[in-house]
Amino acid sequence: MENNLHIKTMSEYAAEGKEPEILFWVGCAGSFDDRAKKITKAFVKILNSINLEFAVLGTEESCTGDPAKRSGNEFLFQMQAMSNIEVLNSYSVKTIVTTCPHCFNTIKNEYPSLGGEYKVLHHTQFLNNLLKDGRLKIEGGEYKGKKITYHDPCYLGRANNEYQAPRELIQKLELELIEMKRCKSKGLCCGAGGAQMFKDAEKGNKEINIERTEEALNTKTSIIAAGCPFCNTMISDGVKAKEKENDVKVLDIVELIVTAQDL
């Protein structure tokens, strides 16, 4: 099954003298984190199912520098950014799609003034475009009528004003979306942003991911959807801490699509 995935690197395309339609920026979480790797694969399955020509950078990809920048290490960020831009420009990359809102935000907003100008899309935006162009078909499948709630990743939502694309995909899956009280521009952070993912939280009376998970569980839905590998980890941890992992699944939107379409 796994081996059915059809993946080519940018250098392979270059060797063939061809150009892919998009570059899929996998990101560090998507490359190394066991949970996030499943999201990466799910996205690839969808792309493969419609024979979309995409490339990854593979070993030429490196951290965008987001966590370094948000920790205050502008040096490290710009070193990462400039060497990534060098690689991307050497392949004349035009369109980048990423499954991580942090990579998405950084490449889209912070690379241009350093010489990296690309069309950058979050995977939910890209899939939604494919849907509208008629290149991708999504039906409810086994999810039809099930209740779901959606957690807005800060770096997709507030940071870049994208609230609709993921919701439209959920609608296509014929799921019943139950919104949390704090949603869209008022969405509560999962607690991972700003490099918090990589350190313990400061002293307080609660973990942020627990606060958010409780809110999600209050919707009484069986699925919590997210569009960010870090949000996914934080909320999955929250669900485990609340001992609800048997009743509630935390899934990326591409995983929902893959299951529904039986890819």
């Binding site: 998507g30 490359s31 190394f32 694969k41 502008e74 935000n105 942020i208």
Partner: protein, 433 residues
């Protein structure tokens, strides 16, 4: 001579009121200019539009409907009733009485009726504000550093507004000629009932006392602004005009760093330099208010301490020390302290051994931020506390190397193997197996 005495007194009071007000504005302008340059000259149209929508049009404050609508009432009241101020000032200067009534005919009645109606609505709204703050004790008005001056300041403003509006209506009620005109005394006619049986002389005295107290009160209030969070009634406009236009997710790239990184990546550049590069080494990030930019300082003076930012901050909600409102208040307190230092030392700042970092804002607060932008999104006048937090983190990391240990590990991972975790970059495609 003595018949002009009131005019002379009025001119003197007006002069001193305006003199001190302008002096405060100058000080404000000087202090904001202690900050670094920031380019806000681009996109004038969009900036103007933002100012019209957010400040003039109250577009963001209304998102919380209860306090939003009350605020809009007080705001409209403030703007409209100020038209009356023009008449008061002219009357005071020329020694006339209700100058406009001679020229506006029946319109005058409608105008004053509108003012009176708004005055009552303002009194009601302000009373509800007071109840929310002191009786219901809404959470966002408490906590962090909302004790002492910030708490009193908030109530003083409300008292001021009630007193000014009450004086205005009482003045109209005790104005015999105005009541006899019986046009425009929509509210004051009811108050006038209380004055039945008063002699014409005592009514005249009441009317005059209210008139003088009203105008003097306004001048005092105007001069109170500089020391108060109420400064937002002026600064909300420039603040929304100059606010960031880009996506909230974008954090500025430091140009000084770009230069250095380019040198590191391409050593040839160092030699191709024509030698005119005599710039001193720039400090990275911010440890004190002078390291912040002008917009950030303007932000701090514009803050109304409403606490909407703090009420949506994930760190604050879960009991951490960080409060975006406190970041803004601390910044203002510190820039004020620096300004006073400059005033006392003949226009130069004499180092006082203090800084915004540590003396006002602790590292613990700075490291608790998730950079989620909830505070920025929530601010009714587009203040950006996150940019200050990040500039201070930049100082901590690039000047002091004092990031938490785990973050240092994360950063050395990125440096060594291109990922925040210790995985080999050569394994980056292994996920497909």
């Amino acid at each position: 001579m003595s018949e002009y005495l009131p005019n002379i007194i009025f001119v003197s009071i007006l002069f001193f009121g305006l003199y001190f007000f302008v002096r405060n504005l100058n000080r404000l302008y000087r202090n904001i200019n202690l900050g670094k340059e920031i380019n806000t000259r681009d996109n004038k149209k969009q900036r103007l539009l933002n100012m019209c929508k957010i400040a003039l049009g109250q577009g963001k404050i209304i998102k919380r409907p209860v306090s939003g609508i009350l605020h809009v009432i007080v705001y409209i009241g403030f703007i409209v009733i100020n038209i009356e101020l023009l008449e008061i000032v002219l009357d005071g200067l020329l020694g006339t009485h209700r100058l406009f009534s001679n020229y506006l005919g029946s319109l005058y009645g409608y105008l004053i009726a509108t003012f009176e109606l708004l005055a009552v609505l303002v009194i009601i709204s302000v009373s509800i504000f007071w109840i929310r703050r002191n009786v219901i004790k809404i959470k966002r008005f408490f906590g962090d550093n909302m004790k002492g001056w910030p708490k009193n300041d908030a109530n003083f403003i409300l008292y001021f507004e009630v007193i000014l509006m009450t004086l205005f209506i009482t003045m109209n009620a005790a104005d015999l000629r105005f009541q006899e005109m019986n046009s425009g005394n929509l509210i004051s006619s009811y108050v006038a009932d209380f004055f039945k049986g008063y002699s014409n002389d005592s009514l005249h005295i009441i009317e005059r006392v209210c008139w003088w107290a009203h105008i003097i009160g306004i001048l005092i209030f105007m001069n109170y602004l500089y020391f108060s969070k109420h400064l937002h009634i002026l600064l909300a406009f420039p603040n929304t005009y100059f606010a960031k236009l880009n996506n909230l997710g974008e954090i500025n790239n430091l140009n000084s760093v770009t230069k250095e990184v380019k040198l590191m990546m391409d050593p040839d550049m160092a030699f191709s330099n024509d030698g005119t590069d005599s710039e001193e080494i720039e400090k990275f990030g911010a440890s004190d208010v002078m390291d912040l930019n002008k917009l950030q300082l303007l932000n701090s003076y514009s803050c109304t301490e409403c606490g909407r930012c703090t009420s949506v901050c994930p760190a604050n909600i879960t009991g951490k020390k960080l409060s975006p409102r406190k970041i803004m208040m601390d910044t203002r307190d510190r820039i004020e302290e620096v300004g006073k230092n400059i005033d006392m030392n003949k226009d130069v700042f004499v180092p006082d051994g203090k800084s915004l970092l540590n003396d006002y804002i602790s590292k613990e607060e700075l490291w608790a931020c998730t950079s989620c932008n909830a505070c920025v999104e929530e601010c009714p006048i587009s203040i950006d506390p996150l940019s200050i937090i990040l500039d201070m983190r930049r100082y901590l990391v690039m000047e002091e190397s004092s990031a938490p240990l785990e973050l240092n590990n994360m950063m050395s991972n990125i440096e060594n193997n291109g990922a925040p975790w210790p995985y080999n970059q050569m394994d980056r495609l292994n996920w497909k197996e």
